[in-house]
Symmetry: C2
Subunit: 158 residues, 2 copies
DNA sequence: TATTGTTATACTCTATAACTATA
DNA sequence: TATAGTTATAGAGTATAACAATA
C-alpha cells in the first residue's frame, strides 16, 4: 500500500481565502461589502445613494444644521458635501435657508417632500436590515453592536 | 410656573447621528472605516496597501494561482488586478511564471522576499487586530464572527 | 467561440488647496 | 485672522469594452 501523499486542502477545495479569515477585520469588510451591495439596491427606487440618504436622515434629525456641521457628522470633507446638498436641494428634499446671525452659513431643513421620501426610504432600509439580520437573535445582536462599538472605540482612540 | 418647554435632545448634546444608529449596517460601516484607517497605518511600514497585502497573502496561501482566479477570490475585476500584480512583481515579492499547459495564464508564486515581507506584515496586522479587539471576550468574538457570517450570507443569497 | 492578461476609459468616493464672503 | 460655502483638482478604488494570444 502506498504512503499517503501530502496534498494541500486546495487540491480538492480550490483557491481559499482562509488565511485572511483569521482576521475579524477581513470578515467585517466582507460583511460590509455584502450589506452595501444590498443597501444600494434597497435605496435605488428612491433615487438615493447611501450618502444622500445619510445626509437626508441627519438633516431631518438635526434641523437647522449647517453644512460644516453635517460634514463633520458624516466624517467627510466640506467640499464633498456641496454636490450632495445641491442634489437634495434641486430635488426639493432639503432647503438651504440662510442662518440667522451668520450670513456665511446655511441652516439646513428637510422639506415636506424630503420628510416623506426619508420616511419611505427608511422603511425600505429597515426591511433590508431585517432581511440581512434574519437568524441573528436579539441577544447576539446586542453582542454584535457592543463588539462593533468597542472595536470602533479602540481604533479611534489611536 | 411656566409649562416645560419642548426641547429636543440636540439642544444640549449638539448634532446627533442616533437616527442612523438603529441600523446595524451603519454601525458596521463606521467600525469598518475605523478599522481600515488603523490598518492602513499598520501596513504603511511595509509599503503595502490593503489590496496588495491581500493579494500577497492569497498568492502565498494558494501557490500557482492564476490572475483570473485571484481576481475572483478577491471579488474584483481582472483588469484591476494587473497593476497590483505588476507592483508586487516589480518589487520582487511575487513571480509570474507561465502556467504549464496553458500559455495564456500565469502561475503566481510568492518569492522568498515576498514570503518574508508577508510574514512581517501579518505580524503587524495581527498586532493591529489584537489592539482593536481588546476588551472583546473570546465568546463575544465567536458571536461577532457568526453574526457577520450570517449577515454576509443573507446578503449574498440576494 | 471562449478565456487570459492587458489597455484604455469612466465613474464614484474621497482629500487638499485656494477662492469669496462673511465674521 | 478665522470660518462657511464653494471651485477646481487629484488620487484612490472599481467597473466595462475591446484587443491579442491562446485554448
Amino acid at each position: 500500500m502506498a504512503a499517503p501523499s501530502r496534498r494541500s486542502p486546495e487540491d480538492d477545495a480550490g483557491p481559499s481565502e482562509h488565511g485572511l479569515e483569521v482576521f475579524v477585520g477581513y470578515r467585517l469588510r466582507r460583511a460590509w461589502l455584502a450589506i452595501q451591495a444590498d443597501l444600494v439596491v434597497a435605496l435605488r427606487p428612491f433615487d438615493l445613494r447611501m450618502v444622500t440618504y445619510t445626509a437626508l436622515v441627519l438633516v431631518k434629525d438635526n434641523p437647522g444644521l449647517s453644512q460644516a456641521q453635517l460634514a463633520a457628522l458624516m466624517d467627510m470633507e466640506r467640499p464633498n458635501l456641496v454636490a450632495i446638498i445641491e442634489e437634495l436641494s434641486t430635488r426639493g428634499l432639503v432647503r438651504r435657508d440662510r442662518a440667522s446671525g451668520d450670513r456665511r452659513a446655511y441652516a439646513l431643513h428637510v422639506t415636506a417632500a424630503g420628510e416623506a421620501l426619508c420616511q419611505q426610504a427608511t422603511q425600505a432600509v429597515a426591511a433590508h436590515e431585517a432581511r440581512l439580520t434574519a437568524g441573528v437573535s436579539d441577544a447576539d445582536r446586542r453582542v454584535l453592536e457592543a463588539a462593533l462599538a468597542r472595536i470602533r472605540h479602540n481604533a479611534e482612540r489611536g
